[in-house]
Amino acid sequence: MTPSLPPVIADWFASRGWAPRQHQLDVLGSYQSGASQLLIAPTGAGKTLAGFLPTLTDLVDGDFEGLHTLYISPLKALAVDVERNLSTPISEMRLPIRVEARTGDTPASKRARQRVKPPHVLLTTPEQLALLISHPQAELMFATLRRVVLDELHALVTSKRGDLLSLGLARLARLAPDMRITALSATVARPDLLRDWIAQPHPGRETDLLHMVGGAPPELSILETEERLPWAGHSAVYAHRELYETIKRHKTTLLFVNTRSQAELLFQGLWNINDEMLPIALHHGSLSVEQRRKVEAAMGSGKLKAVVCTSTLDLGIDWGDVDLVVQVGAPKGSSRMLQRIGRANHRLDEPSRALLVPSNRFEVLECEAAVEAVSEGHQDSEDPQPGGYDVLAQHVLGMACADAFLAEDLYAEVIRAWPYRDLSREKFDKVLDFVATGGYALRAYERYARLRQMEDGKWRISHPAVAQQYRLNIGTIIEEPMVRVRLVRARGQKSGRTTGPIGAGGRVLGEMEEYFFGTLAIGDTFMFGGEIVAFEGMKENEAFVSRAFAKDPKIPSYMGGKFPLSTYLAERVRRIMDSPDEWGAMPDQVADWLRLQRDLSVLPRRDSLLVETFPRGSTNFMVCYPFEGRLAHQTLGMLLTRRLERMRARPLGFVASEYALAVWGLGDLSGLIRTGRLSLDELFDEDMLGDDLESWLDESALMKRTFRNCAIIAGLIERRHPGKEKSGRQITMSSDIIYDVLYQHEPDHILIEATRRDAARGLLDIERLGHMLSRIRHHIVHKPLPQVSPLAVPILLDIGKEPVFGEARESAMADAAEELLREATGG
């Protein structure tokens, strides 16, 4: 359909010497035909205007009353930025349109006014939407709504924030049946799924899938280094000098890394050689908000030469001047890589340029795979998943706060949210029961019910305090409990290791996740705030550290990047490794390494699993190469050591990387396999995901962390609020206790089920492990070796650097008790 553009808007384009772009007209045409639409376009590319052209068109004549368009983005900074960007054309065209942002920072009085007398265009976040629709006035506020614009939808749909948003949309579709959705997304693997996602609230409504065509393909290359490529590690120190030279040659460079500690290391490394005092800044999630805003402002005004950042800058405001994106360390996935590349150069006719910097030899393979995938335009972004029960519980309570409801009505509405389209009525009722009284088989809490069913069959909140409690606990983003890191004078260490006196009770360096300190021993060194510090101890909510002279931090605090290697890139890495003809494209050091592996052991094949066993010192090693990412490997390691224990192979510990898993122990693994006393097919049998997994889950710290998040989102545990005396530590502990009690007594409780589903895809990655085990079934290649193989060198180097798992932690107490005994007996 040919869109009709009002003259005032057409004139405005003409007066600036522009013409509306095709994709902007496509969105307008689709909207005017009565459809919803999904626009797939790279970052920038005039997407904001594409999203709002229909609104401007509808509102030119100024006779519209009430809220017309609701814009929702994952970042409140984006909402504020869009407010600014929209006000320019609106004021230039003198349009009678009122635009306002609404975020957590908006004053309460303004937020209250927005509910009663909303602007024409309201810019906000999924959490604010949830708050708005939980209000009894929501019906009135949204009655006039015509449009919902969803920005960066690809970033929302794979998270629980997406679940919350989808439920909000289902409610909006009921409050405003004429409302149409315009969604904007980066390129994804399955655009059809995203289209279905926005179509679900309106069955029978057309939903168009629009692609922005054109744009130069990105240019992607791998750093060609003169230096020696390291076997292992994630620091990429070898490349600092070459990166510095690259930064000098460009106007503005964004350097992405995968974790905060890598960002610290790279930033420190660049400043060590920053002879020209180039303005290079650091941006990651542990820095204070003010510090980050300062960096963003400096970047926006073109004052910075480079920024070292983590995924905190994956999304956000566009900076026109970035002419190079550097990815240091593994790219993890091609879609992720493409989106990061999209942060450079938003002029469509020129290619975005990116440079990949592998930090070890395995990562060279991953970078090669990413370059291939990107040049073929292959996408491997995660698909949206079924919705979480915890988010649903939160929503059900919110809807009860808005108004009393009949269960069947709310159920019919909820399955209009794409992630919940297959939700059974039985599960819905379980969630409702959970919200009302906790959902326990032992009906102990009827008298304390939060929701009660009235005589008319409707569910109603039992007390206004329930609504207050709901509003305080809204949202799906859970902050890890953090501790303050304070610099103190070193104690109990050899002189010469520290830089000398620092005042006791010194300054606060920043904050860090509490669980990190749970793994440290006194004296361990790690990187924080750009310097190497030694752990001195903990007190209440503070960790004490002293300056250390150590050259390399002992503990890399790598803690695994948030994103595992994508299945697609893993597949490509396996293929590259299995295709010696393609090795020519790689640096000689890497090709030689693979040749050596072929000569001394065997290469891992595409469709099988290579398991090597070899002795080293007094221990025996088993190394396998599944390439399924660290999380799945950790879970595999936990389960394998349990089984090896049972098979009397006496395992001691294991370490997992993105590519491989190494288990070691006292038993002669090669011998056990040769004599048939240990069968690898049995060891790697899928049945490990049955009882072995079950018996591990009840004590797994990862499971407990997952449970804590579910319990907070579902409203079982109250969120921590500044000023309240309940510290993060107490929440963590009590959620562990709650998990223990619940898992033992009601393992099929809806929250345990929610936790399992999350863990299966999240911290335990059981799903991926399951796929791997079934793929390699009866395809295990065993290679006994007299010594370590070339391919096993990197993972063996990780021992002592990465967290090592192993026998029950009780061994620490047993050893300590033995030490005491020796002292007591003078031994």
Partner: protein, 236 residues
């Protein structure tokens, strides 16, 4: 190390804790068994803790009381103790005893029928309740002074209240578990209830209570208790 009795090599499965001239056996559950007097000592059961959260809208699982009772029944059966002394905070709230589920109430009643129960009062349950046995503010017994809150100055004081835990670091491994902690004058029991958290003995609340050079720490393992060297303790 003056009072950890060492009997055999390697570590004996039954650990003995000597305090105020008596021998006690610290159990991995957190109870202290006084074999010579057939008495089981426990602290901080906090029964009905999760239910008290439910009253304020947080529907925590209503199973903690049953779990603690199971633990207690097992300890009583295994030790054959004839007497139970609870060192206060047995109930999470003063009115909790009246709000027990019928099943839990029945179990508690048959326990108080079978053994002599002495309930000392704590800050969570300061007034006597209607459960069988005797409710007392505190108790003196054979040179021991049993009470809820630890304090300095009294000799032979056995208390709870603080929920002590220890974290030790051994060759890069660290473990944090509830613990018994004592010197020559004061003994603090770990919290026994299944819903209780624990506080590191290096934190402020413990400052000044103990004579540090005489400190002894016994951590709870899954099947036994472990006396550990004080120099291995870390914060957090």
């Amino acid at each position: 190390m003056n009072s950890v009795a060492v009997q055999a090599d390697p570590i004996p499965d039954t650990v003995l804790l000597r305090f105020a001239g008596h021998n006690f056996e610290p159990l991995p559950s957190g109870a202290l068994f006084w074999r010579a007097r057939e008495t089981l000592l426990v602290a901080d059961l906090h029964l009905e803790k999760m239910a008290s959260f439910a009253r304020r809208g947080q529907m925590l699982p209503p199973y903690d009381t049953a779990m603690t009772l199971t633990r207690l029944e097992t300890d009583l059966r295994r030790t054959g103790a004839k007497r139970l002394i609870a060192l206060g905070d047995s109930f999470h709230r003063p009115d909790s005893a009246g709000l027990l589920t019928p099943a839990d109430r029945m179990r508690l009643d048959s326990m108080t029928d079978a053994v002599e129960c002495i309930w000392l009062s704590g800050n969570h349950d300061p007034v006597p309740h209607a459960i069988g046995g005797t409710c007392l503010p505190e108790l003196e017994l054979e040179g021991l002074f049993l009470t809820h809150e630890p304090k300095k100055g009294q000799t032979g004081l056995v208390a709870g209240h603080l929920h002590p835990a220890a974290r030790i670091a051994m060759d890069g491994r660290t473990t944090r578990k509830p613990c018994f902690v004592h010197d020559s004058r004061l003994l603090i029991l770990p919290a026994y209830g299944s819903s209780t958290g624990a506080l590191n003995i290096l934190s402020q609340a413990f400052f000044g209570l103990f004579h540090w050079p005489a400190l002894e720490v016994t951590m709870l393992g899954s099947d036994r208790a472990y006396p550990v060297p004080v120099k291995r303790l870390v914060g957090g």
